[in-house]
Amino acid sequence: MTDTQWKVFEVFHQQARGEPHVHVGSVHAPDAEMALLLAKEQYSRRQACVNLWVIPAEAILATAYENDDIFERGTDKSYRESWGYKTPKTISDETTKRRSDKG
């Protein structure tokens, strides 16, 4: 199937400073600057946004689904399920909370 002549850019959206950028979709655009401009109306008009990233889809190297058996666990690895550890997201949440408690 032929796509438009414009390149595809993947769009990442940040709801608040310190939050992670989350992939929200893609836009077609002739270049990165236009991709940012078009992504702004496409992906920030219905939710809060402080920052957008666009990345050329062709710059992304992905695993092949036919190889998804590489993610399967041959033996019990439940010891790796480290949910008790803090993730960057929870650390940033707590930092924000500490700051606002001080303020």
């Binding site: 236009m34 078009l38 008009r45």
Partner: protein, 263 residues
């Protein structure tokens, strides 16, 4: 100069009040009509992403119009819906630039750039206005206008420099639009009272700022500003191209079937 500021809209009286009413009609009608014109691209723009961005900006302009009409309502004019849908062409105070049919994509993009550059110049000045409610509103609208100008500028630069065909269309659009764009700064009898009260700069001052804002972008786009073409005036005193009547006939059609209907 806080001691000279008009803190509330009802602090206005006499000539200054009359002048502010006229200014607000000019601001609001420009926004409503360009918003409607740009909304004509909804479903028709060259590519989905461009369609969504242009339609969204058209909504922004409608929102700005509603905000200005609300200030007018506070000054004793009719309610915003009646002002938008219940007036005849001669009662509108928009410039001819915003009335013109949407033309091709290049024309609409160029018009959006020329118009939003004027809007940015105006809102920057009005955010310092001695009329506090207007200054506050101008400050709130500036973010959206900043994006509109980035959008228009980016498109103009690309279409001006892309191909011989796109360049030729953009130059033709500029030759046609420029005298109408100068008409955005049609002087009125209210220039002097508005400037003296610190509410808005004179139109010729705003025009000077606008020209120095658009000239470098047009030059970078490889476009030549037409010289010696007289501005097209009349919009600020209710003299409009026929295109405005056609636009209003469509826009007001449903409202006029039953102006008292509740929605």
């Amino acid at each position: 100069m806080a001691d000279l500021a008009f803190q509330a809209i009802d602090a206005l009286s006499g000539t200054v009040r009359e002048a502010v009413i006229n200014l607000l009609y000019r601001l609001a009608d420009d926004e409503l009509i360009i918003g409607h014109r740009n909304s004509e691209w909804t479903g028709h723009a060259p590519i989905l992403e461009a369609d969504i961005a242009f339609s969204s900006m058209a909504q922004d302009e409608m929102g700005h119009a509603q905000a200005y009409y609300s200030l007018l309502h506070q000054l004793g004019e009719r309610d915003p819906d009646t002002l938008a849908f219940g007036r005849r062409p001669r009662e509108f105070r928009c410039a001819s630039l915003v009335c013109l049919p949407k033309g091709d994509w290049g024309f609409s993009i160029l018009r959006q750039f020329l118009y939003d550059a004027s809007e940015t110049v105006r809102l920057t000045a009005l955010s310092e206005s001695s009329l506090v409610p207007l200054a506050q509103l101008a400050g709130k609208l500036r973010g959206e206008e900043k994006y509109h100008l980035m959008h228009g500028r980016s498109w103009v630069l690309r279409l001006g420099n892309a191909t011989d065909d796109s360049h030729r269309k953009m130059q033709a659009a500029l030759d046609f639009a420029y005298p109408h764009a100068l008409g955005l700064f049609e002087p009125t009898e209210y220039d002097e009272p508005l400037a003296q009260a610190g509410i808005s700069p004179r139109e010729d001052e705003l025009k000077r700022q606008w020209e120095s804002a658009v000239a470098p972008v047009l030059a970078d786009a490889g476009l030549t500003v037409p010289e010696g073409m007289p501005p097209i005036y009349g919009g600020r005193v209710g003299q409009h191209p026929d295109a405005l009547k056609e636009l209003l006939d469509g826009m007001q059609l449903v409202y006029n079937i039953d102006p008292t209907a509740k929605w």
